[in-house]
């Protein structure tokens, strides 16, 4: 069993590399929003935090969302505020965008587009993948 002292030692170690893998479209389920809430909570813990939007998760990035029409909080607006929390390592899968016919000018600019191979390298470099 881990003793408390060892637990403290763990928190003093180098930050862990945590990647949130976001695969859900916004609004149809609260899972996309829940992932963002978890990301915001993580930002307070000084870990090496990244976010990767893949598959239907890329729909979260589309500009001009009017979520108020369905009585929900605007996911794109939350995403645009992430830099205020020092969350700047955002990545999107080029293949997922292309598959869905989403042009680069239809999504936020503050994000790095990665080809699948580069995205895979990013995943492999992490300590934990948080699957959303």
């Amino acid at each position: 069993m881990m003793m408390a002292a060892e637990g403290n030692t763990r928190t003093m170690n180098a930050p862990k590399k945590l990647l949130f893998v976001l695969r859900q479209a916004p609004y149809g389920s609260t899972l996309a929003k829940d992932a963002l809430d978890a990301i915001l909570a993580t930002s307070a813990y000084e870990q090496d935090l990244s976010i990767a939007f893949i598959d239907d998760g890329v729909f979260q990035l589309i500009n001009n969302q009017q979520a108020e029409l369905i009585d929900q909080k605007n996911i794109a607006r939350i995403l645009s505020a992430l830099p205020l929390y020092d969350i700047t390592q955002l990545f999107v899968c080029a293949a997922s965008l292309a598959e869905r016919g989403i042009a680069l000018n239809a999504i936020s600019e503050d994000i790095t587009v990665l080809e699948p191979k580069a995205l895979r390298t990013l995943l492999s470099q992490q300590d934990h993948l948080l699957s959303f």
């Binding site: 069993m1 881990m2 862990k16 945590l18 899972l31 829940d34 809430d37 978890a38 813990y45």
Partner: protein, 129 residues
């Protein structure tokens, strides 16, 4: 090795059983289960109120027994719990609700507990839908 589990599914999904089977197996092998964090619909698993038929598994009781045997931290995300009506006495008073229903052995706490679990654990396994 130190594990934590993230559970996002409620009682109707088989994954909540898969999570238990995984937890049981890792503990039987002598590994440590640092925390089980219930988020999204997983918060429903923190209710003391489900009454399964006698010939069906009482999932809450099963987690409680495992937690008691191995001293496991079972955490229901407070934000997810409040949204779904999973309250402890303190939150029921805060929100002026007539009842509270958090099962013994579970605690309501913030998303920081999920983050902290990833920091303290070697492996984080997610069970959802």
């Amino acid at each position: 090795m130190i594990f934590s589990l993230a559970i996002y599914s409620s009682l109707s999904a088989q994954s909540q059983d898969s999570a238990y089977q995984f937890a049981h197996a890792l503990l039987s092998q002598g590994h440590q289960l640092y925390r089980v964090f219930f988020y999204h619909d997983g918060a429903y698993q923190g209710s003391a109120l489900p009454c399964p038929p006698q010939d069906e598994t009482d999932h809450t009781a099963r987690w409680q027994a495992l937690a008691k045997t191995y001293n496991i931290d079972l955490v229901i995300c407070i934000a997810a719990g409040l949204r779904r009506g999973i309250l402890d006495q303190r939150e029921a008073q805060r929100y002026e609700k007539a009842q509270y229903n958090l099962a013994d052995g579970f605690t309501l706490s913030g998303l920081g507990q999920l983050v902290e679990a990833t920091v303290q654990s070697d492996r984080l396994i997610t069970f959802a839908r």
